[in-house]
């Protein structure tokens, strides 16, 4: 009986998906296809997908958003400049400990309630207090406690930092600290769920550029433009009246859809399709190397035989980088191999990653392997996850072939994604390929999050006192030159230890109708539809 009743309720909930007036013309609608699903409307919920993050920036506003810069002629987000979003302006105190935001007075939530400092306070408190994803992220910008957030007046808001932190502002521009309509949210909160996690997961209470019109997880999400939103670049609402995001699991089908003009934009096509579409020249293909990402071959530095530095270097000298890059990515990306470092020192320290001086040299590889005590090689397994099979499979085949030449016998293991994450977390994989992304791609952020400590993201299980020390020091180093000097030492040390072999930064291939303009590569590797317009 209860099953039936529940079923009835659910059916009623789902019944109202009919699109009302289709007055908008096709030109004012943007149809986006993607392979993945949006699984929550609140980006803070553990388990949120990237597509859910993408959506949240359309339905919610933050205090700030990242600026943009051109990198090799392509627009990408800029970690160092900010655009006000709900904030009209902000000031940082000279000691760097206090940030004061002036809020827009005309900003309203979707239900018409004005946005106030109270809402900001509630939202940021939630991000650092509740059991949400924001907590872990914001502490990388020294934002850890509600005490740091103060309402000065209805439209003034103050953030206090224990130490000047270069990433504090940047952290306020990521997806977690979006501003909720606190009155609405609080009305949905319960004693067990004071932060209305459950309600916000399936409802929005934002002030963003788009309003959710229909949401079918794993199928379609339709967004309607919020006509009152004016936080965009030209102080006017977003260009498209309607955004349709559809989940199309088969990549080849997505390519067909875009090519036929049935879809306007896709960013997760296979490299081969993107290359093909670019060659055909009918569509606009914007390929941006993901400059905040790395694809690498990683060793478990604690697990024999990869605890031997010579073994790691031998493998680095044996990999057929060019072939791998061509076969896996069709050359679509920025290589991180084949550099020449003048004196064995990293040429720069201001950024990470930088191209590494590795190249294929089998003689050297064999020599190193012998030095490591494995003149006849050894056997190991190389793992990658099913989700990345498209690029990882050819890469692994080449790797296996190349390592066989220096006597290392490799078994290739293709693991379902969940299994791979578990094994990585338990540090049980000796040798594998993965990709990492940093939302806030500063040099120290990479080192701190991916090469230190017993955390999941320390793929190589690197445990090096110097890297730890220098990375922590760099975090709070205000002086750019000193920061770069630390970075140079870190980069050099990192290469010497060779905990992983960085391979490349794959391109994000945004394939879109020629009429679509304004695409910017964003930190969360999603499309910010507010940037887009049609010619």
């Amino acid at each position: 009986m209860s099953i039936l009743r529940n079923a009835g309720l659910v059916a009623a909930l789902l019944a109202s998906t009919a699109l009302p007036a289709l007055a908008q013309t096709r030109a004012e609608t943007l149809r986006h296809v993607t392979g993945a699903a949006i699984n929550t409307l609140d980006p803070n919920i553990p388990g949120s997908t990237r597509e859910a993050f993408g959506l949240s920036l359309l339905t919610y506003d933050r205090l700030l958003s990242f600026g943009k810069k051109q990198l090799d002629g392509k627009w990408v987000f800029d970690l160092d400049t900010f655009k006000p979003e709900l904030a009209e302006s902000y000031t940082v105190s000279p000691d760097g400990l206090k940030i004061t935001f002036k809020l827009r007075k005309d900003a309203k939530f979707h239900d018409g309630t004005p946005v106030t400092a109270e809402d900001v306070k509630w939202s940021l408190d939630r991000a650092v207090t509740a059991n949400v994803l924001g907590k872990g992220q914001l502490l990388t910008g020294s934002l850890t406690s509600p005490d740091q957030f103060k309402v000065v007046d209805a439209h003034t808001f103050e953030v206090t930092l224990p130490k000047p932190d270069k990433l504090a502002l940047a952290n306020l521009a990521v997806v977690y600290p979006v501003i909720f309509n606190s009155k609405l949210a609080k009305s949905k909160a319960t004693a067990e769920d004071p932060w209305a996690l459950a309600w916000l997961k399936e409802n929005t209470a934002g002030s963003g550029a788009y309003i959710i019109e229909s949401y079918k997880p794993g199928e379609t999400t339709i967004l309607r433009r919020n006509p009152d939103w004016n936080r965009g670049s030209a102080e006017k609402p977003a260009a498209f009246k309607r955004i349709i995001t559809q989940t199309i699991p088969e990549a080849a089908t997505r390519a067909n859809l875009v090519e036929k003009g049935d879809a306007d934009i896709a960013i997760d096509l296979q490299a081969t399709d993107a290359a093909d579409l670019e060659k055909k020249g009918k569509l606009k293909v914007i390929s941006t190397p993901q400059y905040n990402a790395i694809t690498f071959v990683s060793f478990n530095n604690q697990m024999p035989p990869f605890d031997k530095i010579e073994v790691r270097k031998a493998i680095a000298a044996a990999l057929p980088y060019e072939d791998m890059f061509k076969a896996a990515l069709f050359g679509r990306g920025a290589p991180l191999y084949g550099a020449t470092w003048a004196d064995g020192q990293a040429p720069t320290g201001a950024t990470f990653p930088i191209p590494q001086p590795v190249k294929t040299d089998l003689v050297e590889a064999k020599k190193l392997l012998t030095a490591a005590g494995f003149p006849d090689g050894f056997s190991t397994t190389f793992s990658f996850n099913v989700g990345q099979a498209g690029t990882a499979e050819p890469m692994a085949a080449l790797l296996k072939e190349a390592l066989a030449k220096i006597g290392i016998k490799v078994d290739i293991q293709k693991l379902p994604d969940a299994q791979m994450s578990t094994l990585i977390n338990e540090k049980k994989l000796p040798f594998f390929t993965e990709g990492i992304v940093a939302w806030l791609p500063s040099m120290d952020y990479f080192y701190r999050n991916f090469y230190i400590g017993p955390i999941r993201w320390n793929y190589s299980s690197l445990n090096d006192a110097q890297i730890t020390e220098w990375a922590q020091a760099a975090r709070f180093e205000p002086d750019a030159a000193k920061y770069a000097a630390l970075g140079k030492k870190l980069n050099t040390r990192h290469f010497e230890l060779m905990p992983q072999i960085p391979l490349w930064q794959p391109s994000q291939d945004a394939v879109m109708a020629p009429s679509v303009e304004g695409y910017v590569y964003q930190f969360h590797r999603q499309i910010d539809f507010r940037d887009l317009s049609r010619k």
């Binding site: 990549a251 080849a252 089908t253 390519a255 067909n256 090519e259 296979q270 081969t272 399709d273 290359a275 093909d276 057929p320 060019e322 072939d323 061509k326 076969a327 099913v386 989700g387 099979a389 498209g390 499979e393 050819p394 692994a396 085949a397 080449l398 296996k400 072939e401 078994d411 290739i412 293991q413 293709k414 693991l415 379902p416 299994q419």
Partner: protein, 282 residues
């Protein structure tokens, strides 16, 4: 096989060219599985990225793949693995299913009820998802693909053997065997099983093709054999990625190989049925 059975077989094959062709095809496949690695023009594993994604030509009869490997050579070499997977999966479920099914069919009673329940449970599963889950749980290695395929096949064999034995359990020769001093077990193993095996052989042949497809399906969703081992299912799955860019040979040739093999075994199964049970056809 007695000479008269042989003569009968020849007679059937002559009157049934389709089966003859299928039998020849199956023979060629087995031959390829054995000698394949020695006759292929290229190393099926060795990459040659410079020659990646070449369309079929005089040099590369079926074109090259993403890593510049010769698709034709890979197809030939894959025969062994594909046939091995299918054959071992099917024979595993065949042997288990025949013995268990025969015992159930003969004794009836409690064993039959318990096994029947077990079979019910298995049958109620969405079988492909069950295979997926098992491969995911056990790890996607060849032996696990074989086990998963065997398990999802098992109910059919149990039921088949059970039914076949059940109709014969009251046959005069079964009672005669018991009157001649055979125990129940010996009646099942020495009398009933040999008699139901031919009918089951038909099932095996039909099932071989299905097992190959099943393995291919698992490959398609990423739970198949690992690269770079050549295997048709993986080749089709990989090739499917290139359909939209018109690199048809990557999917067409492995698809064709898969198709012809399955077709071969299906037609052979049909033909076997004719040979064993002439009443089914003229």
């Amino acid at each position: 096989m007695t000479s008269s059975t042989l003569r009968h077989t020849v007679w059937i094959l002559r009157g049934n060219p389709v089966t003859a062709i299928a039998a020849a095809g199956a023979f060629i496949l087995c031959l390829l599985a054995i000698i394949g690695p020695w006759i292929v023009p290229f190393d099926p594993i060795a990459s040659d990225v410079a020659n990646a994604l070449q369309p079929p030509s005089a040099k590369y009869w079926a074109g090259t793949d993403q890593l510049g490997r010769d698709v034709f050579s890979r197809l030939i070499v894959a025969t062994r693995l594909d046939l091995a997977i299918a054959a071992s999966a099917v024979s595993l479920s065949f042997v288990l299913g025949a013995v268990v099914g025969a015992l159930c069919g003969y004794t009836g009673g409690r064993l039959d009820r318990y096994v029947g329940r077990f079979v019910d449970v298995l049958m109620a599963f969405p079988l492909f998802v069950l295979a997926m889950a098992m491969v995911a749980a056990l790890g996607n290695r060849v032996e696990n693909i074989v086990i998963a395929t065997a398990i999802i096949n098992l109910p059919f064999y149990i039921r088949f053997a059970r039914a076949e034995v059940n109709v014969r359990r009251n046959a005069g020769w079964v009672e005669a065997a018991r009157a001649s001093g055979d125990s129940h077990v010996s009646v099942v193993l020495r009398f009933l099983l040999p008699n139901v095996l031919p009918a089951m052989a038909v099932q095996v042949s039909l099932n071989l093709g299905w097992a190959i497809l099943n393995a291919a399906g698992l490959s398609f969703i990423g739970l198949g054999v690992s690269a770079p081992t050549p295997e048709w299912g993986i080749m089709v799955a990989e090739g499917a990625r290139f359909i939209s860019t018109g690199k048809w040979w990557l999917v067409a040739f492995p698809g064709l190989a898969l198709m012809l093999t399955v077709l071969c075994f299906n037609l052979l199964g049909d033909g076997l049925r004719d040979i064993l049970d002439p009443r089914m056809r003229t």
